[in-house]
């Protein structure tokens, strides 16, 4: 009985198990590593938002040299992410799945994500994976900040009874 208790507790912490999370995480790191080792580029996913806007907007901010110069490979990187996920969704684990989270949460949350990642110089992949992997203090502070605010917001939303 005393030996079972920790296992039971682990099961409650990880109701979906650990394996898909760990495998997925290793592949995310591997994907970033493939790009880094072959090209020296540290790829984050959110710069794509601004660099792609340079195609359609003449606002100065989006037409800075580093965005215009990188916008084509950032499109290719994003196309790769969509394709890799499609391999999973169509071939390895077929069957369409759609989120139940309400549209206004996706739109409003997405808007704040768009503002916040660009103002804060990175997102979950740039700061969270590559920046933490670089042991960058800037990234560690950013990750600690967004984690704290995300947990607070999600708990508040749940407490207000918004579901999904």
């Amino acid at each position: 009985m005393t030996e079972l208790t920790p296992l039971l507790a682990l099961g409650e912490l990880f109701p979906r198990g650990i394996l898909p999370y760990a495998i997925g995480g290793l592949l995310v790191g591997l994907g970033a590593s493939i790009i880094y080792l072959s090209t020296g580029i540290i790829a984050g996913a959110s710069t794509f938002l601004e660099s792609t806007l340079s195609y359609v907007s003449d606002v100065d901010r989006f037409n800075r040299f580093k965005y215009v110069q990188s916008r084509d490979w950032r499109l290719v990187f994003t196309a790769g992410i969509v394709s890799g996920a499609a391999i999973w969704g169509l071939v390895l684990n077929p069957g369409i799945w759609t989120t139940e989270v309400q549209w206004w949460r996706l739109l409003g949350g997405g808007f704040l994500v768009g503002v916040g990642t660009r103002l804060g110089k990175g997102c979950t992949s740039g700061h969270g994976v590559c920046g933490v992997g670089s042991l960058s203090n800037t990234s560690l502070v950013n990750v600690a900040t967004f984690m704290a605010f995300a947990i607070g917001t999600a708990q508040l939303v749940m407490a207000l009874g918004v579901n999904p």
Binding site: L49, W73, G128
Partner: protein, 159 residues
């Protein structure tokens, strides 16, 4: 590096890396807002293994490349770490991003992957992200144009 001197392997390497990256996001469940929200609401801590596992892999890669390797074969660029300068925007931006992530359960890379698995309602979030990125870029461009005018008047300006 200019487009003209790019190796023909450059874009294929980026695409391949993106595919593995997106496959990982799909398998991990991060492409599902519900999984992210369960993590943030302390109902499933599996996401720690996604970000942790990914950061360990990139950490080892960065360490090996910057310590033992010379230059990236495709571009000839030097291997560097991701170290960005710190200022208050890192904290302000992180806070705004955190509220958005906690509200929607979706972040940029995971949103692209979510679209890839066929979750079309995620286009609301991707549209929101573009609007948000546009709003901050527009605002910052206007502000820097203002401060450039003031700078001409006062001869001193900051950032």
């Amino acid at each position: 590096m200019s487009t003209a001197e790019r190796s023909p392997l450059f874009l294929p390497a980026i695409y391949l890396g993106g595919i593995v990256f997106g496959l990982g996001l799909a398998i991990s469940g991060m492409a599902r807002p519900e999984v992210v929200l369960d993590f943030l609401q302390f109902q499933d801590f599996g996401l720690l293994f996604v970000m942790g596992g990914a950061a360990v892999v990139t950490g080892v890669t960065f360490f090996v490349a910057t310590t033992f390797l010379d230059r990236a074969p495709i571009t000839g660029d030097e291997y560097k770490r991701r170290v960005k300068s710190f200022d208050r925007n890192v904290v302000i931006g992180g806070s705004i991003f955190g509220v958005g992530w906690g509200l929607s359960g979706i972040c940029p890379g995971a949103a692209y992957a979510s679209f890839g698995v066929g979750n079309y309602p995620i286009l609301w979030a991707i549209g929101g992200m573009f609007l948000g990125a546009y709003a901050q870029g527009y605002w910052r461009s206007m502000r820097s144009a203002d401060s450039a005018e003031q700078g001409a008047d006062h001869a001193s300006s900051q950032d």
